[in-house]
């Protein structure tokens, strides 16, 4: 059903330009990886704290506030490099299970991060240095698990 759309994607000027260039795809991928590093760091600082490890001397809300621009910035880098990467091989992606796993998990991970985790992280407990409630730990674990699936499936697109 969506296949004509994916064919159109690959036929776009950007898709064709990236597909026909020797350097474009590798460089976009390398920058995509830089984005992955920043995303990993920005997520982990907060998620580890929610899990009760890492920067435990700091209130979650403070860490989340500092990490936020790097979280959003890295996501912007991921999307602006990821879209042309996708356009260059949209038809391959259409028939790739890993691609669909990644794209179905990504919106869930984004929604969870900005709707659920954001709210939990902003909530200031009576003692800002407490080790974290069961809810906090669960939110940290779910966040890491969701983004792990996105990253792992993303890497596996190239292998399947």
């Amino acid at each position: 059903m969506l296949e004509p759309f994916f064919r159109w994607c690959e036929a776009t000027a950007i898709g064709q330009a990236v597909a026909q260039s020797v350097w474009a795809f590798p460089i976009l991928e390398a920058v995509h990886l830089i984005g992955l590093c920043m995303l990993g760091g920005a997520l982990l600082v907060v998620d580890l704290r929610l899990l009760g490890v890492g920067l435990t001397s700091q209130p979650v809300a403070r860490l989340a506030r500092y990490a936020r621009p790097w979280l959003i910035g890295s996501l912007v880098v991921m999307v602006t490099t990821g879209v042309p990467l996708f356009l260059s091989e949209a038809i391959k992606a259409y028939y790739n299970t890993s691609f669909w796993v990644k794209m179905c998990t990504l919106p869930v991970a984004l929604a969870f991060t900005f709707l659920v985790r954001e709210r939990v992280a902003q909530r200031v407990p009576a003692d800002p240095h407490d080790p974290g409630s069961v809810t906090d730990r669960a939110v940290g674990a779910v966040s890491l698990a969701l983004w792990f699936v996105v990253a792992a499936a993303g890497r596996w697109i190239g292998f399947s």
């Binding site: 020797v22 590798p26 991928e29 390398a30 920058v31 990886l33 830089i34 992955l36 590093c37 920043m38 995303l39 990993g40 760091g41 920005a42 997520l43 982990l44 600082v45 580890l48 490890v53 890492g54 920067l55 435990t56 001397s57 700091q58 403070r62 860490l63 500092y66 990490a67 621009p69 790097w70 792990f148 990253a151 792992a152 890497r155 596996w156 292998f159």
Partner: protein, 188 residues
């Protein structure tokens, strides 16, 4: 000498098995890539603090004390999986321009970390809460951020054989950088 050893290493049964495996090699490579988020990610957050760019009210010793263990775990995973990947194709990587640049910059990143450790880090408690750490720390943070970015980019590009010895002709400096002279003379 090195080439003979790496050639032998690449012909050992485990090396061949790893390279030709259906799932082992992709799994090792995927672990290497995903561990970037842990290793380079946490390193970058600490570097941003050292450079005085982010996390300005978080004490530096919180990073070096509580986050660094996670960075070390990431580094251990990167090292083990990286060595395995090298073991799967030692001679090819040895002659790969991007691999060579990556290793050199890796060493520079290590020296930078060591210099920071015996330098600015020693007096960390004195500037623990400074929103703008001393010059030495800021330089260490900036150098680290740049070095790891180069390592990640060159690491990704190792996959491409554009400058490999069997792709000729190449500019002389490329062949020099890839150490292709011996290969091209057929004396390997």
């Amino acid at each position: 000498m090195i080439e003979r050893f790496l050639g032998w290493l690449g012909e050992t049964p485990w090396s061949v098995a790893l390279l030709e495996s259906l799932y082992a090699w992709p799994l090792v490579e995927s672990t290497h890539v995903l561990a970037l988020g842990l290793f380079v990610g946490t390193t970058a957050m600490m570097d941003l603090r050292l450079a005085g760019i982010a996390f300005r009210k978080v004490p530096v010793t919180a990073f070096t004390g509580r986050l660094l263990p996670w960075t070390r775990i990431g580094f251990a995973i990167m090292t083990v999986t990286g060595l395995l990947l090298f073991y799967s194709q030692p001679l090819r990587y040895y002659h790969n321009v991007f691999f060579r640049v990556k290793v050199v910059v890796l060493i520079l990143a290590g020296i930078n970390a060591a210099v920071f450790h015996v330098g600015a880090h020693r007096s960390a408690l004195e500037w623990d809460h400074d929103t703008r750490p001393p010059r030495g720390a800021r330089i260490a943070g900036a150098v680290s951020l740049s070095a790891w970015a180069v390592v990640v980019i060159t690491g990704r590009l190792i996959a491409y054989n554009w400058f490999d010895c069997d792709i000729q002709p190449q500019p002389a400096w490329v062949n020099w950088l890839a150490g292709c002279a011996a290969v091209l003379e057929g004396t390997e």
